[in-house]
């Protein structure tokens, strides 16, 4: 037999009319695809528009048939997917929702100077955070964060009061505008935009006010950023007299220089050096209503703090993905004498204007993948007049100054989204016989065991 005229339909080579089978083949493919779309409905409904357009354009289905097909897919999508019930503005380019839950077992010792007791306790705590961040056209952004606990320096809620329910608080609400790669502006209660260690700035504290960042790219390996913030620390009634009649402001400015160096096996520049000198200046005003771990509800007088944090990262030191980090911070309060003697009332004490931190870390992976781990150890010393106790880490020495000691932290990723963390703090006093609540701690220890699950 010679090739059959109405032979196999799986190939076109047997047909004597080469055009028709190709068209039939294409038609059958497209129609099969359309049928598959109808069956697969939900998964492909939102992606099917271009395919339906092609079917209509090629005359395989009419406009009305295309519309009916589109309508059926939309109905299926709307009925069977959560996304089909969301109505987001077309000006949104990205809307990210996420958060985490942290379960914590905490053991702590807090011994006051000249005290006869050593306050020891165990707490079972949790932290819930829920964030929404929207990116919009023309560089605009906006977002929010909800979290447990009202204290600025902690989102922890201790389990207590016989199964009572707990409050949620607004931890962030901000608007941002990034007109180009070089400028970024933000206003409202926002993430800390400054490069800091937790010696100077507790990572839980979200500042409020306006911030500006200007970025300069210097070749391929260097970046210089200028960051500034005009941050409101407290709102006072202007009818008050003197400092009580002024709002409390923190004016912070910083230059952040990043240099990339070295190359990995495939030629990427992976090591980095960061140096970030800055200056934090407060106006002279009163503070009240703070509920930090160790709040100082007094004044912002006597705080003009020079800071110099930084770090060096070396990648792939012990195999691909491993890294070693050396990090540090230094703070010096130019008005420490005034802060110690007049504000804290420690008339005969030295000003202790400096604080410093040196740490080293080792990690494997980015901390986002199952099996990643990291270990960090730092030693720090905080002079009584060195920095603002309302901003420094609330866990290290319970947020107090006149302390020195270390922090040891380890983290292990159980999955890509869950990690186990263990952190231990141990501090002792630098000078004895201090009478201010911010500096009269004899020694402290905290052990925190955390399970963190991100969603």
């Amino acid at each position: 037999m010679v090739g059959p005229r109405f032979g196999p339909t799986t190939g076109t080579q047997f047909n004597d009319n080469p055009d028709r089978p190709i068209m039939l083949h294409l038609k059958s493919k497209l129609l099969a695809l359309a049928a598959a779309l109808l069956c697969a409905g939900t998964a492909f409904a939102q992606d099917s528009g271009p395919l339906i357009d092609i079917l209509v354009r090629k005359g395989l289905i009419t406009d009305q048939e295309g519309e009916d097909l589109r309508s059926e897919l939309t109905k299926d999508f709307a009925a069977n997917s959560a996304a089909g019930k969301l109505n987001l503005g077309s000006h949104l380019t990205e809307f990210k929702l996420g958060g985490d839950v942290r379960l914590r077992h905490q053991v702590e010792t807090q011994a006051p100077q000249n005290g006869t007791v050593s306050n020891e306790r165990t707490r079972e705590r949790f932290r819930f955070r829920f964030n929404g961040d929207a990116l919009m056209q023309k560089g605009w952004g906006a977002g929010f964060a909800l979290e447990t606990a009202s204290a600025a320096d902690s989102g922890n809620q201790t389990l207590e009061n016989g199964n009572n329910d707990y409050n949620l608080y607004l931890a962030r609400a901000y608007v941002s505008w990034r007109p180009n790669l070089n400028w970024m502006f933000a206003g409202g209660k926002q993430k800390n935009p400054f490069y800091t260690t937790d010696m100077v700035w507790d990572s839980d504290i979200n500042p409020q006010g306006v911030t500006e960042i200007h970025t300069r790219f210097i070749g391929a390996k260097d970046t210089l950023e200028f960051r500034a913030g005009q941050l409101l620390m407290d709102d006072n009634n202007e009818t008050g007299i003197g400092r009580a009649g002024r709002d409390a402001w923190l004016f912070a400015q910083q230059a952040v220089y990043t240099h990339w160096f070295g190359k990995d096996a495939i030629g990427n520049v992976v090591n980095s050096l960061v140096i970030a000198p800055g200056f934090m200046l407060y106006n002279d005003s009163t503070l009240s209503g703070l509920d930090n771990e160790t709040p100082f509800n007094g004044t912002t007088d006597g705080l003009a703090v020079f800071t110099m944090p930084g770090e060096v990262n070396w990648m792939n030191v012990a195999g691909a993905g491993t890294s070693v980090k050396l990090y540090w911070d230094f703070a010096y309060n130019l008005e420490a004498e005034r802060r110690v003697r007049k504000v804290y009332g420690l008339a005969n004490q030295p000003k202790d204007a400096a604080a410093w931190l040196v740490g080293v870390g080792y990690g494997s992976g980015t901390g986002k993948v199952q099996g990643d781990y990291s270990v960090k150890l730092d030693y720090r010393s905080l002079g009584t007049g060195s920095l603002d106790v309302n901003l420094s880490d609330s866990d290290w020495a319970f947020g107090r100054v006149n302390q020195e000691g270390f922090k040891l932290a380890a983290a292990y990723n159980l999955t890509d989204f869950a990690s186990f963390n263990a952190t231990y703090f141990h501090t002792t006093d630098k000078r004895e016989t201090q009478t201010s609540a911010v500096s009269n701690l004899d020694h402290s220890q905290i052990l925190q065991l955390d399970l963190v699950v991100k969603f």
């Binding site: 519309e67 309508s71 939309t74 709307a78 009925a79 996304a83 019930k85 109505n87 077309s90």
Partner: protein
């Protein structure tokens, strides 16, 4: 006498009972001219049918079908998934029926030597990325952009069809209607704007081909011209009764000639 009055009253009651009222709500694009003209023609053929037409935007037309307050909803856009979801929750099945195509032509001043643009260039011009005619091969001169005002459905449609939903350039000037855009572009040698197909032959302007296609009935129906969109009637399931008859009339040759007459593109090539 009493008998006569009673008879007249009975006749009146019968007439009222047989009179059909068709409630149509929705898109001002369709409801401004097209549907009222179709309704007039339909009434001329079907005595006793009355219409209540409210043209307050496509959203109101789709809502009216969901709420059951109209038999036909006019819309110049497709129902959103959230609207379909709301309809399904109320037991309403949104049925779209394409009744016409609406084409948007890009126009420049008659004296502008430019004859064609790509879709990418149109997007860049209206978004403000391209600000001078020399950047698209024209005679140097700062481009003046004319758009409809923000309340117009065409303002949003053009953004979707031609600009990937980007915002218009901040320098663009907002005009009240097609006539105003055509008039301004006719006066301004550096002007560019967009108008409905019915306005492409206004004096002083010329139409620019987009990706090689000029807007026309043929190019829209053949899907060769990119800036065209279907317009819809929405009903709850397959239309029935008087609504079905009116839909049928709209799609008939007579109805589609009305579509052409008011500047829309018929859903098929007419004899």
């Amino acid at each position: 006498m009493k008998k006569t009055i009673l008879l007249l009253a009975a006749l009146g009651a019968v007439t009222a009972a047989t009179a059909q009222k068709l409630v149509i709500k929705g898109s001002d694009t369709l409801g401004a001219k097209l549907v009222p003209m179709l309704a007039e023609d339909y009434k001329a053929r079907h005595a006793g049918v009355t219409f209540e037409i409210a043209a307050e935007g496509s959203t109101t037309g789709i809502s009216a079908i969901i709420d059951g307050t109209a038999q036909i909803g006019m819309s110049s856009r497709r129902a959103k998934p959230t609207e379909v979801s709301a309809a399904t929750a109320k037991g309403v099945s949104m049925k779209p029926i394409i009744v016409a195509f609406d084409g948007i032509g890009v126009i420049v001043n008659q004296g502008n030597p430019l004859a064609a643009l790509t879709r990418r260039q149109v997007e860049q011009i209206f978004a403000g990325d391209i600000t001078d005619w020399s950047q698209v091969g024209g005679t140097p001169g700062k481009i003046s952009i004319y758009t409809r005002n923000t309340s117009s459905g065409t303002y949003a449609d053009f953004k979707e069809l031609a600009m990937k939903k980007r915002d218009y350039a901040s320098s663009s000037q907002k005009m009240a209607g097609n006539e105003q855009i055509a008039a301004e572009v006719a006066k301004n040698p550096n002007g560019i704007g967009y108008v409905g197909l019915a306005y492409l032959h206004d004096p002083g302007i010329k139409t620019v081909a987009i990706d090689g296609a000029l807007p026309s009935e043929e190019s829209v129906i053949a899907k060769k011209y990119p800036y065209a969109r279907p317009t819809f009637y929405y009903t709850n399931g397959e239309p029935t009764g008087e609504a079905a008859k009116f839909v049928e009339f709209t799609l008939s040759d007579e109805g589609q000639k009305v579509v052409r007459k008011v500047g829309f593109v018929p859903v098929r090539v007419l004899n």
